[in-house]
């Protein structure tokens, strides 16, 4: 379509109106053409950028690298996967999964009462304030938040100062796995609060009243009515907290201790330092497999009905 300047009014008006109308009619008549034009580009994007890179990575995992020529050795081998099942890497995989699980449980326990208050107790104004409070940290840089935790947890930091002044002695938490647990639980908390809030908000008041009318005490109502109905929200939130922790490698670098390597750190070392991409690719398969198992289990809990 061309654009011509209307001399009298100084405004641009589209030309070729007839052709455009024909095109429009043609598209309207052929729904399949319209659909494929609309969906084609995003689908191509998905196939090429998302899946193709994943496939390339998976194929790479079965190759090796010649250390001197820097070139891939394109012959199929399971060496990389066999290496995964040796002591050190199993320890690292186990540490990563365990941390992801503990962080998920912590976030669920902390987020549930908070989300409950937001969804069912607080008034409109308080609720908005709490929402801002929950999401506020997400506006700040991830790195800034981790660094501020280092300032809090390290020797001579805020926590250390506090425990000394109340007579509890020195507290040196920075550069330990405990510090990682605290930081992970903090930075991923919003990802747990929001889905649980969504699930709780959707529970009809009538169900809770019915439970009371039928003689259910408050604890009973929580266990038998609210928790089961909110569970899909908890599971949905846990997918975020679990997968985000599983894939992280920055927090271990910044605040982890001498035994804090995660799967991501080993991948980073093998890509960046050793340039052993095939082994890194093999390692990257591990979180994918773990997440597939996790998602299958989450689906059984109805996580995908909560959205």
């Amino acid at each position: 379509m061309g654009v011509r300047l209307d001399a009298d009014h100084g405004i641009a008006v589209p030309t070729g109106g007839a052709g455009l109308a024909r095109l429009s009619t043609a598209l309207w008549r052929r729904a399949w053409l319209r659909a494929s034009l609309l969906l084609g580009p995003p689908l191509a994007w998905f196939l090429v950028i998302y899946l193709a890179s994943l496939v390339v990575m998976l194929v790479t995992a079965f190759w090796t690298v010649n250390p001197f020529t820097n070139q891939f050795v394109h012959s199929f081998t399971l060496t990389n996967f066999r290496q995964l099942f040796t002591g050190t890497y199993l320890t690292i995989i186990w540490r990563t999964v365990l941390m992801a699980a503990i962080v998920t449980v912590t976030d669920a326990v902390v987020a549930f009462p908070f989300a409950y208050y937001m969804a069912r107790v607080a008034g409109g104004r308080t609720r908005r304030l709490l929402f801002v409070a929950v999401l506020l940290p997400l506006w700040a840089s991830y790195l800034a938040r981790v660094y501020s935790w280092i300032a809090i947890l390290q020797k001579g930091g805020a926590l250390d100062w506090l425990t000394r002044h109340v007579g509890l002695g020195a507290a040196q938490v920075a550069y330990t796995n405990t510090a990682m647990w605290i930081v992970f639980s903090y930075i991923w908390l919003p990802f747990m609060v929001v889905p649980i809030y969504g699930a709780l908000e959707r529970i009809p008041d009538s169900l809770i009243e019915a439970s009371g009318d039928l003689g259910g005490r408050s604890w009973h109502t929580v266990c038998r009515v609210i928790l089961p109905l909110a569970l899909p929200g908890v599971v949905a939130g846990s997918i975020f907290t679990f997968s985000l922790t599983l894939g992280d490698f920055i927090t271990p670098v910044l605040i982890g201790g001498p035994s804090s390597n995660f799967i991501g750190n080993v991948i980073y070392d093998n890509v960046g330092t050793a340039n052993n991409l095939p082994f890194a690719a093999a390692l990257a398969v591990v979180p994918i497999v773990i997440m597939i198992v996790y998602l299958v289990v989450a689906r059984a809990f109805g996580a995908f009905e909560a959205a």
Partner: protein, 411 residues
Amino acid sequence: MTRPRGLRASGLLGALLAAAVIASACGSSSGNGGTGGGGTSANGGGGSALGTPPEQNAPVLTKIGKGEGQLNIVAWEGYAQPEWVKPFEQATGCVVNAKYAGSSSEMVQLMSSAGSQYDLVSASGDADLRLIYGGYVRPINIGLMPNWKNFLPFLKTPPFNTINGRHYGISYEFGPNVLLYSKKAFPSGPPTSWSVIYSNKYKGEVTVPNNPIQIADAALYLSKSRPSLGITDPYELTQPQFNAAVNLLKAEHPLIAKYWDLASQEISLFQSGTTVVGAAWPYQTNTLVADHVAVGDTIPQEGATGWADTWMLGTHAAHPNCAYMWMRWVTTPKVQAEEADYFGETPANHLACPIMNSIAAGSCTAYHENAPLSYFQTIKFWKTPLATCDNGKNDCVPFSQWVSAWTQITG
């Protein structure tokens, strides 16, 4: 291998930040298919005997002609700063296009990729031999480098960039990996041996770099403390020697407060008093001293490891005249001093000393530019650990195994 020191750390930070965004978005299970590079798992081996570098007899320029108007370089971040790039462009008409690399392996990768368009690379000692024997860089005519005669003697024809009398580039800057200590913990003067970082006395107060090349530091210490192992070169270790170094580092693990990845981390560890002794670069010492933290650094009796960078000429460099002009320019005392000040390292050109002092008083001495030769002789410069060692037998442990051993050490 990554050398995230000083400003180079910002490159890592950038990567971390980018990864953070990805992680936040989808819980990354990272893996960018495609690129290849050096290092592999146990198999594969060092393969070919070294022999003669492929480009040994490549012709060199006999005189520098007219500039080609462009110059493509692969550099460490901080190696192509406007302070010295702008005047160069104005004087020569060569527009500098810099590509920053995050690790030595990435540099090798960039130079080795088919149809590589890069004219120069600021390679470190651990990448040099891979570049030379891979045929990715070619000799230069050192006679066209007037400042070369002003270099510290040990950087004129160092074994990591000069083979069979051929110069594969020109030395640039260097630095030692020193022993950093808190003066509170060592009131009677600097420790004289690296043994302090392996000693129970400082349990939980030790920090060393999170870098596989740290195995060489352990090997250097063992070469003096356990001569029966017969270690002569910390980068050429037979399996028993390598195992001894790895075992020493495994025993050190309970003493470590933190394996540092960024220079800023070690600075913070010493500022807060979390650690009192560790392996460091002069950059950390100088930053801490400037911040009035009571620390000092020393090269203990066993010596130290160190890095040294070389500007190397790409085999297929399309702009050789501009490349030669760049090598001439960055080895002048002024640029050498500016780089040293910006990056926190030591110039190859000793004439840089007074200019360093005019930029920052006392920095020439702080970075040991004017130290006696005996000081430099204590530094064992990084080179790529290869399966093929100088003893003629292919029984040394290659770098890929250093990396997997390091993962085992740090757990």
